[in-house]
Amino acid sequence: MSPDINPFDPGAPLEPLPGHSSRGRLERVLRRGEFAVTAELNPPDSANPQDVYERAAIFDGWVDGINAVDASGANCHMSSVGICALLTRMGYAPIMQIACRDKNRIAIQGDVLGASAMGVQNIMCLTGDGVQAGDQPGAKPVFDLDCMSLLETVRIMRDNSKFLSGRKLTTPPQVFLGAAINPFAPPYDFRPYRLAKKIEAGAQFVQSQYCFDVPMFREYMKKVRDLGLHEKCYILVGVGPMASAKTARWIRSNVPGIHIPDSVITRLEGAQDQKKEGKQLCIDIINEVKEIEGVSGIHVMAYRQEEYVAEIVHESGVLKGRRPWKHETLPADAVVAERLEHIREGKEENQQQMAEAAAHHQH
């Protein structure tokens, strides 16, 4: 059983620990120096909470955090605040993504407070894809803040207990702050400095874009280590299985910011079972990147292949036998059940039989 549970209520925050900025599981795992695994929940296009629970249950016992995406790719889905509110009820550790595309600073600061009140411990600050990438290209792009000023805004709310305007908060949101990095897009030599900027603005962990080009990532990490950034921030590498060479090609030309080298596509094309090969490729990449100094975990993005996350994590062996939190009965509940059993003294009392006996009892 995971040590990071609240013994009284699975949905409640954990005991605060010194030096921790949140009361969540992900921060504890990372600060203990364990290799963290996070995954991305495919947000439902529905108003049914059961859909969220089902999609989260796939990751049970395999991940330390679940990303709730905020209309990724500018496609509309259930909001990240809503998903996070549902997940925290069940005891999951969601990572709430906030994209600057759809909300201005007033809405965002309100959402941060609301989410934190609902028990969200991790917030990930993103710029967001442009509206042209999604299914509603006629929408107004807001982009009031950018990812950097968003990070700073939430950090100010947490550390200074203030809104951007300077107005006081009575209880600050205690959150672990995340950001995204993409080492695979130009200007390549600026990217490590941009990470430095994000750390300065408040990032405590970062998740990278899909990594398919390990040599390129290695080069990036070398520079990151030279700047000493890996000691100030936990770096989680984004990985994921490709369903086929055709999907890989489509993603390469249609999804902004994903760099897939030709060698990956050739490898997928050459395989008998492309789906299986895609999974194997993902595991191979994990095995390569986990050895790179400064990498603290992986972020598995298996869009529409969520059922493979457990296999990928298991087969790559990154957890080293550790079992992340799983939705299960609390130890306190087990104690109560045992005590009740003890009180009953092994007697089975059937209400119907007892009523029957009472009815035929001669007075």
């Binding site: 006629g138 107004k140 950097m148 897009a185 600026f190 902004p256 910011g257």
Partner: protein, 200 residues
């Protein structure tokens, strides 16, 4: 939502991001439309400014000194009264050189003389993750990414390191006002405060 793209080099319609998706909405979509205003079809002058960022930095420093020297004059006429003519000149000069959007809080010195407000996401702190492999913008496929240019420009500048500063969110209430006058007024106020401190 997929754009129908011929195999090989994807066809790019000028300034029209995701043309197929837009056409699918049923509206008439001329080429060269985007949610971010496009004032010009070519980026020649903007790119020239980035290439000559060092010269422009030198020039601006002299220019700012001159403006500060003229502070008593601005003060005599009244900052409020010179605002309109100065804004007019600033809009046209910077509009020509940098495709300036008159955000009123110029960051050109810290962005390698590449105006960050031309970014469709109006990022003021660095490039997003969507920059194309050829260094063009994710949203506007034919536009060189503002931040790829900014990084290039800052490399040439003496104080190019300013690109590492975390910029505050844009104060939207300062739009369409003169950044030159604001900088001058602030510098003058700082100078006065310093001299007062020196006397005390």
């Amino acid at each position: 939502m997929a754009d129908a793209k011929p195999p090989g080099e994807p066809k790019i319609m000028k300034g029209n991001a995701a043309p197929a998706a837009k056409a699918a909405t049923g509206a008439f979509t001329p080429s060269g439309v985007s949610p971010s205003r496009r004032s010009r079809h070519k980026y020649t002058v903007r790119l020239w400014a980035v290439r000559n960022s060092r010269f422009l930095e030198w020039f601006y420093n002299r220019f700012a000194d001159l403006f500060l020297l003229l502070h008593p004059l601005w003060n005599a006429i009244g900052y409020g009264r010179v605002e309109r003519p100065v804004t007019f000149v600033e809009r046209h000069v910077k509009g020509f050189l940098f495709d300036c959007r008159m955000c009123g809080q110029c960051a050109l010195s810290s962005t390698g003389m590449s105006c960050p407000m031309n970014c469709p996401k109006q990022l003021r702190n660095g490039p997003c993750g969507g920059v194309r492999a050829n260094g063009n913008c994710e949203v506007e496929p034919d536009m060189p990414c503002v931040w790829v240019q900014a990084w290039k420009g800052s490399q040439n500048m003496e104080k190019g390191n300013a690109i590492m500063n975390v910029q505050k969110p844009v104060n939207q209430s300062l739009r369409e006002t003169s950044s030159w006058l604001r900088v001058t007024a602030e510098a003058a106020a700082r100078r006065e405060a310093a001299s007062k401190e020196g006397q005390a």
